[in-house]
């Protein structure tokens, strides 16, 4: 299907010839790791769909498979193919800066998507489009704290954290946002321990099993995304413990279902479709010479059992 699309696009270009080619813009994207979870897969599909809907846009869709060397090579390839704009979902927020500078030097605007690059690279990018992961972390802390206050245990509660894949910007920022905000809103809640769950449900389940043995009293679990949060929930169910408050991030369909079932308290609603469309639109706007904000965050609201009716169930 992918190939037919490319064929169709190639044929269109050929038929329309040079006159139309001036109108068309070619946008290249290099993604972090498609297929590692539903979010990234849904993102890719939405991105391609959005590009197909726009007759003036052609896209080159690449996947770095989580490997920073491969991603840098892909940026070089896109520069070499003389695309009009590059969208990058960084595998590492710092390591890609020199590659981004290369694109900048070749006068190709770069849009960073989903997970930002470090400040040292801000001079070379046109815009960042994506969620604000620090804010997401602090919102998760607020959700957790508010729930504890409702339950009247805000002075004694102890929680554990299951963070994302070690070394990835999104994981680091969410943990930081959460850890910074929690003492501000609930100074007496203790974060007993943090272990990485690698964005992986099974790994998160194992980590939670160990936590359950180690701590008799766990009141809350903060997971870097719902995929891991549900893994932790599975561990808790298997051990027959209850009364533990689960808060995640990036609301997955499984998290939404667990919320509906009353097992899972809250999360952060973040749509990969919004994410992908915002990134593409940002690139198009820049190519059309429009002004775009440098930090182009799309909103990622809190979702809990109380307000989940306002949100449609995530498709991923």
């Amino acid at each position: 299907m992918n190939l037919t699309r490319k064929m169709a696009l190639a044929c269109t270009t050929a038929v329309l010839g040079t006159a139309a080619a001036a109108e068309t813009m070619t946008i290249g994207i290099t993604q972090n790791n498609v297929g590692v979870d539903s979010y990234q897969t849904t993102y890719e599909k939405a991105f391609i769909a959005a590009a197909e809907a726009d007759p003036d846009v052609e896209v080159v869709v690449l996947d770095a498979g989580g490997d920073v060397a491969r991603q840098i090579a892909q940026v070089e390839d896109l520069i070499q193919q003389e695309v009009d704009a590059i969208i990058i979902w960084p595998t590492n927020g710092e390591a890609v800066i020199p590659a981004v500078r290369k694109a900048h030097q070749a006068d190709i605007p770069v849009v960073v998507t989903n997970s930002n690059i470090a400040e040292a690279g801000f001079d070379f990018i046109a815009s960042f489009s994506g969620p604000d992961n620090i804010t997401q972390g602090s919102r998760a802390a607020e959700i957790m704290c508010d729930k504890f206050k409702d339950m009247g245990i805000e002075d004694e509660a102890g929680i554990v954290q299951i963070s994302g894949q070690p070394g990835y910007t999104t994981a680091i920022e969410r943990a930081k946002g959460f850890e910074d905000r929690l003492p501000e809103v609930c100074p007496n809640v203790t974060l007993m321990e943090t272990q990485p769950g690698d964005w992986n449900r099974e790994k998160a389940q194992q980590v939670m099993e160990a936590f359950l043995v180690k701590y008799d009293d766990i009141d809350g679990v903060y997971a870097g995304d719902d995929n891991m949060g549900v893994g932790a929930l599975n561990a808790v169910k298997a051990a027959g413990r209850d009364g533990i408050i689960f808060v995640g991030a990036t609301n997955f369909a499984v998290g939404y279902e667990a919320m509906a079932a009353g097992d899972y308290w809250g999360s952060i609603y973040q749509s990969p479709v919004d994410d992908a469309e915002a990134a593409l639109q940002t690139a198009i706007d820049i190519l059309n010479g429009e002004d775009v904000p440098f930090l182009n965050y799309f909103d990622t609201p809190k979702i809990t059992q109380d307000n989940m009716g306002e949100f449609t169930k995530p498709v991923f």
Binding site: M7, V61, E76, Q80, N92, G167, Y168
Partner: protein, 334 residues
């Protein structure tokens, strides 16, 4: 007997280059028809880029060739690569290093390369002194070295962006990128080492028949250690070349590099059992893999297709290799 061997040799060594030609033709014709890019796949710039992009795995694969010719294997190179990168970038932030200005760069390179050599020596000494199979020793140290990477800086990436270093790494001399020079330079030196020196001849002899080598008075152990130090050095060199340009290392970087390096070496025709192989053919294997990746990206293949194609091609090449080598060997028993 010798003439048939030579013919077979030429046939085998030619195979990988023939494969590269097929890839080039395929991507040049099919690729350009399917790609949205107006730039030709076969342009000189693109081919120069191909060489540069082959460097990270390529430099490691060169070392893997030597270790495998020697009858061993090294699964820990990905972790060595990451640890050397951490040392490279972190050392430049040490106070006394910062006082040195740009002179810190060669020193940081030295520290990183030394790290690689030391890790290699640890593997080599364990293999030598305990007599445990290299596969097991390096499988275990793959875990251990990765643990050391995490120990150094927790889960945080280690970063130090030095634009002087980046400019050097991005430079092109006579059209070739810095990384390409390192890849070709390392290949040349190792080719000389393996074909023109006593150490090289002994490495082949040991891999071919360890008993016979011992009987001929070759000291096997020191050769093992030397070759492991060499591959450790090369894994670190690969890190030095790559991270000079990118300036930040995640603790998970370099995972699976060992498997890609082994794949490249085997595509180049080196025997897993040892005693046979060539540095130049490994270079061919590395280029073939990178070309495949680049080409599949060029025609817009998605992740699953890339995985499927790379896996099946590896098996296909193995079957082909089997057919080429079957003459004179025992019949297949089905």
């Amino acid at each position: 007997m010798t003439t048939t061997l030579n013919q077979k040799d030429i046939l085998k060594r030619g195979a990988i280059w023939a494969f590269i030609l097929v890839e080039l033709a395929f991507f040049a014709i099919v690729g350009d028809a399917m790609s949205v890019s107006s730039k030709a796949f076969l342009s000189v710039d693109n081919m120069l880029l191909l060489l540069k992009q082959s460097a990270p795995i390529g430099i490691i694969a060169l070392g893997m060739t030597i270790v495998m010719i020697n009858g061993n294997i090294d699964l820990s190179v990905g972790a060595t690569f990451a640890l050397a990168a951490v040392v490279l970038l972190d050392s430049m932030t040490w106070p006394f290093m910062q006082a040195l200005g740009d002179w810190a760069i060669p020193l940081a390179w030295g520290f990183a390369l030394l790290t690689g050599v030391v890790l290699g020596a640890i593997n080599g000494l364990i293999v030598w002194k305990t007599g445990v199979d290299a596969f097991i020793v390096t499988l275990a140290s793959m875990l251990g070295f990765r643990g050391l990477v995490f120990m150094y800086n927790g889960e945080q990436p280690t970063s130090h962006l030095n634009w002087t270093l980046v400019d050097f790494a991005e430079a092109q001399f006579l059209g070739l990128h810095t990384a390409t020079w390192f890849l070709l330079g390392a290949a040349l030196i190792l080719w000389l080492l393996m074909t023109k020196t006593v150490h090289g001849r002994n490495a082949y002899a040991i891999g071919n028949n360890r008993e016979a080598a011992v009987n001929a008075g070759i000291r096997v152990g020191p050769h093992f250690v030397l070759n492991f130090m060499l591959i450790g050095f090369l894994a670190a060199l690969s890190a030095v070349v790559f991270y000079s340009e990118s300036g930040s290392v995640n603790p998970n970087d370099g995972m699976l590099y060992e498997l890609w390096a082994i794949t490249a070496v085997v595509l180049g025709g080196t025997k897993l059992a040892g005693g046979y192989g060539s540095i130049i053919s490994t270079l061919g294997g590395v280029i073939a893999i990178q070309l495949l990746r680049k080409g599949l990206g060029h025609i817009g293949a998605d992740t699953q297709t890339v995985n499927l194609v790379i896996g099946l091609i590896l098996i296909g090449v193995l079957i082909l290799d089997r057919q080429l080598n079957r003459k004179g060997q025992e019949e297949l028993k089905i």
